[in-house]
Symmetry: C2
Subunit: 206 residues, 2 copies
């Protein structure tokens, strides 16, 4: 039988995190343009875009529970997306050096038929050590920083940039694993989506 | 040529973290009994035991830079070591449920000849979601909790226990990677241990 959950994201990091939970799922990327240009707050932005992503996939998989996600990095009032090139990555990391920024991930859980919907977001403050020019250049030249919001991946070598975090670590990686697990185990979620036993096997179909 | 650094710990998690930095090292476990019974503070305890571990190995490798480490989990005033058995693991996790505890890791960096020494510690506060009995038992029965202080490994399935952390994530895994990287790049460290270029190649022998 096909798994009930669909992750609407191509990110190998999100896939790896959801696999950690042991809940069967498949990946169906959604084809939504991530537009951060309007007047929403970061909290609204990540929830809105995660919802658009989930909805897009749910159209083709109406019986499945689709998980949409979106992560952004915010320094003061500026949203840092993925860098355009190495030069841009170095610029971003130099901005983040010695400062705190905030990582927001929005998660939308959507089923079309029968209709059900839940969304939440998680935010984590990340404080970087002051970084030398050599350190920043070494990282950008030797690691994959271009496919990541804010030009770093906390799980790779840039782990050594991070003096401290406040909040959920996995949220910074790209998926707020613990909050997701907590939410799918609430009575409210069970009432909305059906009574699953998330510790391995399905108890009862919705 | 043999690597200059020795990690005095058998922990596969610490080995994995130090490998992330890309600094060549070898592992030589130290044979020190971890005695947490005396009247030291947690900060003193982890630094003392990490020093004993590093010193033990440095006796046999006097020219190398030996890294000793020790991690403890403290709930209020109680030090939680490794659980004795599954029953004890369930008891520990039930205590940690819905509360905050603190993880301390001490690191001692020791060379015997020429003599050099530096130590530090890192502390991280970890807050657990309230855990159901089913969740705790599922974890203890299906994952390796017995070889870990506090009966959980934040990098495994128990990731979903953790509502938030405050401090260094990798410190909770067992090695404060970022602080270590920061310290070995200080002028003070270079003066004490010699002028290495930690971004890959040795600049000058000590």
């Amino acid at each position: 039988m096909d798994p009930v959950f669909i992750l609407a994201s191509e990110s190998p990091r999100r896939k790896m995190l959801l696999e950690k939970l042991g809940i069967p799922f498949r990946v169906v990327p959604s084809n939504i343009h991530e537009d951060y240009s309007d007047n929403k707050t970061p909290e609204e932005t990540v929830q809105f875009i995660s919802y658009e992503k989930a909805k897009f996939v749910a159209e083709n998989y109406p019986k499945n529970i689709v998980i949409g996600t979106d992560t952004i990095v915010v320094l003061r009032d500026e949203i840092l997306g993925k860098p355009k090139d190495s030069h841009d990555a170095i610029k971003m990391l130099t901005k983040l050096s010695g400062r705190s920024h905030t990582v927001y991930t929005g998660v939308s859980i959507v089923r079309k038929d029968p209709q059900a919907f839940q969304k939440f977001y998680e935010k984590t403050e990340v404080t970087f050590f002051p970084l030398s020019k050599d350190t920043v250049e070494f990282y950008v030249n030797n690691h994959h920083s271009l496919d990541k919001a804010g030009a770093y991946g906390i799980q790779d070598w840039s782990a050594c940039f991070v003096e401290s975090i406040q909040g959920c670590y996995y949220n910074v990686v790209g998926f707020p694993l613990a909050r997701f697990f907590h939410i799918i185990n609430t009575d409210n979620f069970r009432k909305t989506f059906g009574n699953y036993n998330w510790l391995g096997k399905e108890e009862q179909s919705p």
